[in-house]
């Protein structure tokens, strides 16, 4: 099937919910579409077709295959979580169709960003994910969530405006060098050396800064903890595990095109943003007592690690990609689990939550394993990713960055562990009578957990081959 179905099907199904009599089937439409999308996305990996160029504006290569196969199953897990929540709490059914319509448009646009072969198409797809995610962040009756949603839209608009400005500058750099300007990714490598024109380097720097804003990297990261903390858990998981990766694909495309001619600029900017993100996240993790905010700051920390890994380039990319994959599952598990914990304890204050393993065994295990993966324990992908980045930092002579990375990772490790482990192992502070957790409601998180653990122990050859191809494209000549 044409991979553009991954874009069209969810958008058509989402828009069809505008018809009132179809709204009653919203939950089934969500899970059914997500299941179809996952099957299609995995088929692109397991049954590899030759590289396709879809009308020139889309392409199916190793990078798009990898990320389609990552974000669509995660979307399926989130959809199953939402369906199980609605089944357990009929009151949520009333506004479900609105969530489903927006979420399906969101995944369609995210798939478009991944499949895009034109920078402007990818930019528009990211903008659409932002516009449909903004109202999803708003929780009825909670003014703070509306403000968080506004800040999310504001920062995203500014970040994407910077990206657009960067594209405009890069276009002028091509014109100044006497070339016909283009934003088609497969034609761009011929004009990758941007330093010949005064427009080139500022343009490239703006594109990276703007995409960094979408990824939650410093300096423009403040929207992230606020939006992640205030949004409903399913929406936070969508933002952290799906939108993050869609934006990352655009950054990977830019790096693949421009690194050979501009390695110095890309390395310096990504390393600076990565280190700054790790610093602010480490300080904030120490200071916060809010469970969801803590996970959000850890997400900023992870974005910083990924930025540093991409900055180093050669030798780290495979590890960074592994880190990205495990990071997506970790965020999905932790944010969905945080939602469950908050719904039961009616608080997000980590000091008020204790003895989870006795109180909520499923959530206790999810939080425990998710935290271990978050902290980079073996055998998870995050461990191998961090190890490969540390090794590459030493071999490439970035010793100051290596030292700073070690200090910041250790600080984050201690600060996160001292908050989360007592929540899991401590004595329950109050006697609660809980509605029993069923296997069905826990199954989406079990799915994420199983994938996370399996990927830590064994990488299937199809996936490993894909990772190698993506790494090779990012480490092409000159990087």
């Amino acid at each position: 099937m044409n991979p553009l179905a991954l874009v069209c099907i969810p958008i058509v199904v989402g828009l069809s919910l505008a018809i009132p009599r179809l709204r009653a089937h919203a939950a089934r439409a969500l899970v059914g579409t997500a299941l179809l999308l996952s099957t299609l996305a995995l088929a692109q990996v397991l049954l590899p077709a030759p590289e396709l160029s879809l009308s020139g504006y889309a392409r199916l290569d190793a990078t798009s295959r990898l990320f389609l196969a990552l974000i669509n199953p995660i979307f399926l897990g989130i959809s199953a979580y939402v369906a199980s929540r609605v089944a357990a709490t009929p009151a949520l059914h009333r506004d479900l169709w609105r969530f489903v319509a927006l979420a399906l448009c969101f995944i369609g646009a995210a798939n478009a960003a991944v499949l895009g072969n034109h920078l402007l198409v990818q930019w528009m797809a990211l903008e659409v994910t932002t516009l449909v995610a903004a109202p999803l962040i708003v929780r009825p009756g909670e003014g703070r969530s509306r403000l968080a949603s506004w800040h999310y839209l504001l920062f995203s608009s500014v970040g994407l405006a910077l990206v657009l400005l960067g594209f405009s500058c890069l276009s002028r750099a091509m014109q100044a060098a006497g070339h016909e300007p283009t934003l088609f990714l497969d034609r761009l490598p011929a004009f990758a050396a941007v330093s010949a024109s005064p427009w080139g380097e500022p343009g490239l720097a703006l594109v990276i800064l703007g995409l960094g804003t979408k990824l939650g990297l410093a300096p423009m990261y403040t929207w992230l903890p606020e939006a992640y903390a205030e949004a409903p858990p399913a929406v936070t998981a969508l933002l952290g595990a799906v939108q993050f990766n869609a934006a990352l694909v655009v950054l990977l495309r830019v790096i693949a095109v421009y690194r050979p001619g501009n390695a110095g600029l890309i390395t310096a900017e990504l390393m600076l943003m990565g280190l700054a993100s790790m610093v602010v996240s480490a300080i904030s993790i120490i200071a916060t007592r809010n469970m969801k905010r803590l996970i959000a700051y850890a997400a900023i920390n992870h974005a910083g690690v990924i930025a540093i890994g991409l900055a180093v380039g050669k030798g780290t990319t495979y590890g960074v990609l592994l880190y990205v994959i495990s990071n997506a599952f970790i965020k999905a598990i932790l944010f969905l689990t945080a939602g469950k914990i908050k719904a039961h304890y009616r608080t997000e204050d980590t000091r008020e939550i204790s003895g989870l393993i006795k109180d909520l065994p499923y959530s206790g295990v999810f939080l425990l394993v998710g935290t271990l993966a978050l902290l980079g324990f073996p055998p998870f992908g995050s461990f191998f990713g961090e190890l490969s980045i540390l090794s590459a930092l030493v071999s490439s002579g970035h010793l100051f960055v290596f030292a700073a990375f070690c200090v910041l990772i250790t600080t984050t490790f201690i600060a996160t562990g001292r908050t989360f482990f007592p929540m899991v192992w401590g004595m329950p502070k109050q006697v609660h009578v809980w509605q029993k957790q069923t296997f069905l409601t826990a199954s989406p998180k079990i799915f994420f957990l199983v994938v996370l653990v399996i990927l830590g122990l064994y990488i299937p050859p199809a996936l490993s081959g894909l990772l190698e191809q993506v790494a090779a494209s990012l480490e092409a000549e000159g990087s």
């Binding site: 009151a91 516009l131 003014g143 405006a161 276009s171 858990p233 939602g339 719904a343």
Partner: protein, 209 residues
Amino acid sequence: MSPLLIALLGALLIPLFVGTWRTSLLGLSAQGLLMAALAHRAAPLLATAHDWIALVDLGLIRGLAMPLALYVVQKARGARARNDVIPPNLFFWTLALGMGLAAFNFSEHLVSEPGEPQTLVAVAVAGILLGFLVLSGSSEPFSQMVGVLRIENSIVLLELSDQDHSAIGLELAMLAIFVATLGFFCWYLATLKEPAEPSLESAPDSSSL
């Protein structure tokens, strides 16, 4: 320096020193209409679909519909007349003027030959920098929206001097995205200070999805 660009620079600077929201909207409207005049001057025959899209985008949407929509929302929510998009003090005023000068210096680096293209780039860069100044100095949603819209208008101005055009479909899609963004801005402006709505969260085992 052409009169249109002088007027555009005025439309960028004056609303910073006159602290009312109506002046801010007037400034945005003037930016859109002046950019439409610049686009029309470059292609007076309106011979291509691109020329028409540019005219609709700049004149109709940015020059008229956008300020009007924000005006209606501001009126409906009973916004106070006074609204400083930057803090009204000498420091910020000096910064604003300094940014204008810096933009003109920077444009000499970007476009080596003096003339209208260089001035257009200078005005566009000034607009982007002043947009960031507005964003950095304001915490009110309305002022933040004005800051973002100033930046977006200035990027469009920069693209006006670019002879290369995207495919019509892409231009229409970008226009649609801008209109949708504007719709969201109006929605936030209208609802950010609303009283709490009834919640789904009274259900025992639920906060939300």
